[in-house]
Chain length 104, copies 2
């Protein structure tokens, strides 16, 4: 298992939309995520700051990420969610955070 902890900013005027979408995520989204070997996928928010945590349990991260993102339902989901993010000059929304302590 490999864990990922990411930070992102939501556009101020898209925060409500982003929260509403995720609090009412389509049932298929949970299915696609789990079937692509992503688990304990958690998104938390404070103001317009978003903290995303997930665990990857498969053995080909790139292939599973591509599989998940090419799923027709996920593609539709991204039509709504992708415009919510503040992006840097390279179009990147997510910045990795560094885990400095873990106690099982």
């Amino acid at each position: 298992m490999k864990k990922f902890i990411l930070y992102a900013l939501i556009k101020e005027d898209m925060v409500d939309e982003y929260v509403r979408l995720h609090e009412n995520a389509w049932p298929e989204i949970y299915k696609v995520i789990a079937e692509s070997n992503f688990h304990n996928y958690s998104i938390s928010i404070r103001g317009n700051e978003v903290y995303t945590y997930y665990e990857y349990t498969g053995d080909d991260y790139d292939a599973d990420t591509e599989k998940m993102n090419n799923n027709p339902i996920m593609k539709k989901w991204h039509v709504f969610t992708k415009p919510c993010f503040v992006r840097d000059e390279n179009g990147k929304a997510y910045k990795p955070m560094k885990e400095i302590f873990f106690s099982p």
Copy 2:
């Protein structure tokens, strides 16, 4: 199990100290945390922003928190870690984040 996701700010000039402490946490700290029913206790950092995640698996949160904080080793640990935090007018360092999405 109840999960907690918290946000805090570290004083700019204490970030290195905070990271160094946690990357070299004393073995007893992990033991005290687990024995107090706190698990998957994870601290991540980006700049001076800290995200803390933990799960509580006991049935008396206040009593277990008190037990953990009154442990002599934890008290010593806090001598080093507590001064690292930016605090609000009430002395509070941690702000709760809201989990808006979870996919098992």
